[in-house]
Structures are given as C-alpha cells and as structure tokens.
C-alpha cells in the first residue's frame, strides 16, 4: 500500500485527526457509490481518483512544488483558472463539503453561518486537508459576507488574495471585473515569478474551454430518457474537475462520454422506467457532500442536472478564443465569467431563466431547490425562483440543509412526498 504519511507530515498535517477522515471515507464512498447497479465502466477512473484523493494528486502537487512551481487554491467558479494555468501554477478547487471540519471552523467563526465557509476554515485550522496544506496562496472572492470576512481570518494561516466581484451586471461592472482580472494577473506573476504572456494565456483559455466542453458533453448525455449515468456519478465527476490534472481529466471524461453515448444508442440505462427526473438548483456541493443526490436517488428518482457551481454554472459558456491580445483576452474572460448567474447578483433574472431552460432541456419532472443553511443570497432568491417556476408550471421543492446526518430522515420524507405529488 502506498504510504503517504511522510508527505502529509511534511505538509504540516495533523496525522491523527486526518486518520479519522481516512477511516470513514472508504466506507462512505462504498455505501453511496459502489453499491449502485450497472455503473459505466469508465467510472473506474473516478473511483481511482477518490481512492487516491489524498495520495497521488498530492504527490503530483508536491513534485510540482519541488520544481519551483506554485499551487493556488480557489473556492469559487468566478476565479479564472486560465490565469493560474497561464502563470505556470496549479489551481485546486478546495473542498469544503464535510461536517468533519465544522467543529474546527466554529472555533473562530460564528455558528450561524454557512457550513461551506465553516468547513473550509476548519479544514485549514485543523491541518487535515492536504490540498489546503499544499497551497502557496489562496484566491478568495466577495460572493458573500461570510466568505468576505472569513478571508481576513484565513489570511493569518495562509496567504489569501481576494478578488472583488461586482454584484451587478452593468457596463461599468464588466470593466471593473476586467480590472480585477488584470490585478490577479499581476499577483500571480509576482507569486510564481513567471510572466503571463499572450501565448500562455491563449493556450490556457483553450485548455479550460476543452474541459468545459468535456463536461458539457457529459451533461448532454444526461438529457437521454434512458439515463446512461446516475446523478451521483455526474456530480462526482464535476467535483473532481476542480482539482484533477486538467489534461488527464479531459481525456478520461471524453472516454467516459464515448461509453455513455454508446449506452444511449444501445438503450443501457441506470434508471428504472418511469423514474422521476429531478433538476437540482442552488448552492454548490463540494466533496464529499453527496447527501441530497443520495437521498433523491435512493427514493426512486434520478438527478438529471445541477444548476449549481458544481454543475452547469462551472462549464456553461466558453471563453471567446478569437482575441489574441492581452486586453482582448482579459475582456473575453470578464465577459464569460460575468455570464454566470450567481445569487450574489442583483437583479438576477438570468438565473430564473436558466432554471426554466434547464428543466426543459433535461426534461425534468420537477426541481429541488437546495440551499445551504444560512446562505442568505440563495435562500432569499428562492422566493422569485419559486414564483417563476410556478408560472412555468414546474413543480419545486425547497430544502435548506447542512452536511450533518441530523435531517436526513426528514429530507427523505419530504422528497418522497414531493415525488408522489409530481407523479
């Protein structure tokens, strides 16, 4: 067995505490993922990534650092990966989807804030996330108050740079976001000692677009009535996209899509005839948050798409590859990223339109609106989304939850009642 303890120790991790996580993860993953019937063979790659989640990829990051490279952590789909890659750094989307880190997060943060923010803070403070420990810098953003203030605390533990995301979409906001992208370019150049040339940025734009296209292809396969892949598996793939080697991820995801498209042709499905199709909409689901998908898919329905940051918001809209000057490319980046309809914007009618469009595209029978506890923007925005969905004749169920087991039974009952109602 590969023994990564020496590497973890070098990263300053709390090995004893981390071992608790290592102990429960195989069982959780086995119970949620490996018990599914008729999974595509291509899922073996993602099983491999999970099995090596704190091993091989961490070793790859370490090798990169040994050669003088930098590792940069991010938490939000607004932070442009293209710049990180163009600076010769490796970007990792940091997970914050576990109850395991909440207690440590609450040592420095109030209890009544979003579990994602408490979890990422706890992950750093407890020294139990090797990705976090590998980061030379993290890039935060101003998508909510909880994050905005948590960066100030986190900065005591790791170099934390914050991008100021505008929260309206006027012409001046696009200009401001382009300026923020330029500022990040300077910061990354200083961190890495590498100049982000036009050529490097253009290559990075093309690479990130290829990753988006692989994910779009995966999601397109989920539009089939005979589903070739479960929602749980698709969610896992999206989650892995945030930290895997991009080239390898693209290759393996396209290989999986070949298999899924073949399954569609042959009518090989993971769903039972007549099972309800659910669109998830709401807050991100970071690893290992598989709670809502598991509840839905063990209640006889299937998740067909996610209008979330770990779903369509991550890969819809490509960056225009036409510009080759720095100004042109930065503008193209600003334009693409500001197309994301996050609840931090006001007004945010685009998101209502996205949800209705996706429900139709994926032939969803209903929407489950999932919001993390205390996430004000998504919680409040539900009122308008509910109204819009009602007008469009699309049933919707609202769930507010955290990462704990406490409300699993209650959510299960509500999901089952919802499925019965839309039946």
């Amino acid at each position: 067995m590969a023994d990564y303890r020496e590497l973890w120790q070098k990263l300053g991790m709390d090995l004893e505490k981390h071992d608790v996580l290592c102990e429960v993860l195989p069982q959780l993953y086995g119970g949620i993922y490996l018990n599914q019937e008729n999974r595509p063979e291509g899922m073996n790659y993602y099983n491999f990534v999970v099995a090596e989640v704190h091993g091989l990829r961490i070793k790859e990051l370490d090798d990169h650092k040994q050669q003088g490279g930098k590792v940069v952590g991010t938490f939000c789909v607004f932070v442009p990966d293209e710049l990180i890659l163009a600076a010769g750094a490796i970007g990792v989307g940091l997970c914050a989807g576990s109850q395991f880190w909440i207690e440590d997060g609450e040592k420095v943060l109030p209890r009544n804030i979003c579990p994602l923010v408490k979890a990422f803070t706890g992950a750093k403070l407890s020294g139990t996330c090797p990705y976090f420990q590998s980061c030379d810098m993290i890039i935060g953003e101003t998508t909510c108050d909880a994050k905005k203030k948590a960066w100030e605390i986190l900065d005591d533990y790791v170099d934390t740079y914050v991008m100021d995301l505008p929260q309206m979409k006027r012409e001046k906001d696009y200009k401001k976001w382009a300026e923020e992208i330029y500022d990040l370019k300077d910061k990354l150049e200083k961190l890495t000692g590498n100049v982000i040339t036009e050529e490097k940025l253009h290559d990075a734009i093309k690479l990130c677009n290829r990753k988006r296209m692989a994910l779009q292809r995966l999601y397109n396969a989920r539009k089939a009535l005979d589903l070739p892949i479960s929602g749980k598996d698709a969610l896992l793939i999206s989650q892995i996209a945030f930290y895997d080697n991009p080239e390898r991820f693209i290759e393996m995801t396209n290989a999986l899509c070949d298999e899924l498209e073949d399954r569609i042709k042959k009518g090989i499905a993971v769903n039972k005839k007549g099972s309800k199709r659910i669109l998830i909409s709401g807050t991100p689901m970071a690893v290992p948050n598989w709670k809502i998908h598991h509840i839905i898919e063990t209640s006889g329905a299937m998740v067909v798409a996610e209008e979330t940051c770990t779903g369509t918001r991550y890969f819809e809209n490509l960056v225009d590859e036409t510009p080759t000057t720095m100004d042109g490319m930065v503008k193209a980046l600003a334009d693409r990223y500001l197309k994301i309809n996050c609840a931090c914007f006001t007004p945010n009618k685009g998101r209502e339109e996205d949800i209705i469009r996706l429900a139709k595209e994926y032939k969803a029978d209903g929407v489950i609106y999932n919001s993390l506890q205390f996430c004000h923007t998504y919680n409040i925005e539900y009122a308008n989304v509910e109204k819009a969905l009602k007008e469009a004749g699309i049933p919707v169920l609202f769930i507010e939850s955290d990462y704990s087991n406490d409300d699993v039974g209650q959510i299960q009952t509500r999901v089952e009642a919802f499925l019965e109602m839309i039946g």
Binding site: M1, V24, G31, I32, L34, N47, E52, L56, Q99, Y403
Partner: protein
Amino acid sequence: MEYDYYILFNTHTDGLNMAKRLKESNIKYTITPTPRQLSKCCGIAIKYEHEDEKAILDIIDKYDIKVLGLHSLERKNVDIKFI
C-alpha cells in the same frame, strides 16, 4: 454469509497495471478505495468476482504484477453516515 473480494497493491501503478490487464481479458472489476479493515494505508484496491479468481491469479503470474495479496471481506449492510 456473503463476501467481497479485493486485490491489494503496493502502489497505484501496480493497481492500474492490473486494471489494464483485467480489461484486456474482459474480466469484470471495480477500482475501489482500500477497505480500512484490510489496510490502514489509503490507496486503491481492485474488487473482483470470486469466480474470476483463478483467471486473476494467472494474470498476476503471467505479467508478474506485484500484489499485496487477494483478500476477502464479509459483506455487511452499513447505514450511510455522512461526514
């Protein structure tokens, strides 16, 4: 009592090599995290069907794949606890 069957490896490279050979031979397998009951170290294992054990031993022999042994584990229904 029902059992699940696993191959354990020294390194992920050996595991991936085994997976490649199993695929070539059309033997059904699943890459899994190593069950904690079998090893305290993280990393990959391969779950296989018991009926394929003879063919798997032949592959290990033929391609000289380094394994940490073939193991069985009693299958238990465990309640899912999110972490």
